[in-house]
């Protein structure tokens, strides 16, 4: 029994990401200075697009004032950005429904709109409308300095 399981394990786990893929998924640093207010950039980390948005005052206010009770996946804006860096929203640009890439600055909530099945996210990347079950995921990242973050 143990022998059989031990034999099967390599046959199954070989399908997981290999060493080179994992190594290529090491943390990356991104310089924020070129991103003007109201703009955003898309960087790739581990093959996933990451949106880094420099939010406007209006977007921040909207994100902070949205009542939690109206959210499908309630989460305060403050839990989705780093304290003191309210203007920076960093999210993985993969729709939590079926993995398409939402388009930034589209939809009714000043955030993201997924063209595949119509999910709409707000300026904090939270799901507001459509079939997606959860908010856009926030990748692990830290501020190295005021103008530089490390993702991963």
């Amino acid at each position: 029994m143990v022998g059989a399981a031990a034999t099967v394990w390599p046959l199954v786990t070989q399908m997981n990401p290999d060493a080179a893929t994992i190594a290529a998924g090491a943390p990356i640093e991104v310089d924020l200075t070129p991103i003007a207010e109201g703009q955003d950039i898309k960087v790739f980390w581990r093959g996933k697009p990451i949106y880094i948005s420099h939010r406007t005052k209006k977007q921040i206010d909207e994100a902070q004032q949205a009542p939690l009770s109206s959210l499908k996946d309630p989460e305060a804006d403050s839990a989705r950005v780093k304290a003191g860096h309210d203007q920076w929203l960093v999210v993985i640009g993969i729709c939590t429904h079926l993995g398409c890439i939402p388009i930034a600055h589209e939809g009714n909530y000043d955030g993201f709109f997924c063209p595949c099945h119509g999910s709409q996210y707000d300026s904090s990347g939270r799901i507001r409308q459509g079939p997606a079950p959860a908010n856009l995921e926030v990748p692990p990242y830290t501020f190295v300095s005021d103008t530089k973050i490390q993702i991963g």
């Binding site: 997981n16 093959g47 079939p131 079950p133």
Partner: protein, 688 residues
Amino acid sequence: MSGPSDYQPSNPALKWIERRLPIFGLVHSSFVAYPTPRNLNYWWTFGAILSMMLALQILTGVILAMHYTPHADLAFKSVELIVRDVNYGWLLRNMHACGASMFFFAVYVHMFRGLYYGSYKEPREVLWILGVIIYLLMMATGFMGYVLPWGQMSFWGATVITNLFSAIPYVGKSIVTLLWGGYSVGNPTLNRFFSLHYLLPFVIAGVVVLHVWALHVAGQNNPAGVEAKTEKDTVPFTPYATIKDMFGVSCFLIFYAWFIFYMPNYLGDADNYIPANPGVTPAHIVPEWYYLPFYAILRSIPNKLAGVVAMFSAIIILCFLPWLDSARTRSSKYRPLAKQFFWIFVVVCVLLGYLGSQPPEGIYVIAGRILTVCYFAYFLIVLPLLARIETPRPVPNSIADDVLSRSRGKVAAAASVVLAVVMAGGLLAGSTQSAKAEDDTPPAQKWSFSGPFGKYDRGSLQRGLKVYKEVCSACHSLNYIAFRNLADPGGPGYSEAQAAAFAADYKIKDGPNDQGEMFDRPGRPADYFPPPFPNEQAAAAANGGKAPPDLSLMTKARGYERGFPQFVFDFFTQFQEQGPNYVSAILQGFEDKPPAGVTIPEGTYYNKYYPGHAIKMPKPLNDGQVTFDDGSPATVAQYAHDVTTFLMWTAEPHLEERKRVGLQVFVFLIIFAFLMYFTKKKVWADAH
């Protein structure tokens, strides 16, 4: 497969083998002497059609695998090279790609037949369940096969479908990572899909053997739904069923060849001629048509996990059909209510398929929900209920009785054939009239290469090449075209010397030489058109952030919705020219100023036919910009027409050969089908 055979070969060598391995007896008892009900109709030939399709898919698939490269950077190109450079590669690829659709078409007919005639009922439950397993395996195989060309739809289809598993609570994410072999769909995913796509057809073949075995143990069902009792009820498989199957297969091949030779892209998606790009999702992801009803069910449920569960349940529920429908009468022929509900169910499935292809908004979502309820209600409410309340009509005593009473039904059958012909004619006639153009739909144009006898206009190809060289090539590459192609038959009609001279005008980067340095040399016929920019980033940087797309496949990678009912007519008229119409319309659709009330972002230009109207490309063509030697007018309309014709050739270089071979195949198949029909009539003359 039905017990030991009493067959004895007379040839001594065969006798020697037979004593040691009774294989001839097995074949004889399964496919020669095997008794089949005499009243089988043509819906029963789909079993043979499916066997042939499986064999054809395996054959063409194994050959394609000899030329295909399963690597994320090379897969798309290798498929193009198969189509362009391998001898008859275009034919093999079309056979395989259209074959998948035909396989599913036939399997759906086969399944609906089983549903209508109650072929899943005692004692054929295991036979039916094996069939459902084959269907599931086919779906997995078809899905993985669609990923292999690594176009945009391949990539995003793979992303969406593998993400279905992330709906599983707790372990979903780990399972998806396991499927991908990475953090997203990528090269490892493509590699394993190729491996499995090669493996699964053989698994299907194995289950098919079990399926046939189970069939030969239980015996075939038949339209009357009564078991064969005496000799009089059956005829031997060969020659009776064999020749009937041959006729059915030959008719099916005509249908299949229509797609292979005349509309290979009708069932595909234009987006799949754009190489996979993990950074851009196509605006509208649709699976292949044969998954659409299930896709519609998935999308109609607002909760992700519930949607996935519903989608899989819609297939798994088929396994329980023998117990959900407990009515004793098999055939719906004798069940007045079940018959009506069956046809309603067919309509529900077709409508679900249509909804699956539409964007998930507004009325489509609501309609999808209603139809999803109808789909499940058929299995969970209608069938169990009918078994209890319906009074079936009396079934015939025996198959022989059914055959005798059926000669009266001949008139009705003839009438329905006439009706079908009239309807097809009506569709054909309707298609010529209903070409009404909406405002931003590209206007339909006349192309020399359209229709079953279409050919390229050589003069137009040569002028188009000149327009490309003098205008388009400043920004757009033409990566899949080599200079040698200019001398190919069915192309612009240059001689090899002319093509070589054309190539020599270009500077091609080569190297490294013995000093380790790159150098320029004159082009040779084997070289490809050099791209205007060294890499995609340079192209994007020089063009306002977005690289101009490669033009080789442009006329197949673009299109527009034809909508219902137009796409039905298109099948009959062989309309395949969305791409050329669109490309030509874009080139002519520029307007100096956007219409009043429309604003477009800075750095873009207003184009009437571009989706969203804001295009990054400035107006490329102006009157008088290119001078033609043959005196053709130097107008934008002429340029657009010629360069589009040229780009159609770059996208489909073997179009003329395809249509020529198609005509020969059609003449052969029609004669063959006639011969089969009359042979069948002769063989069956004494059986009716």
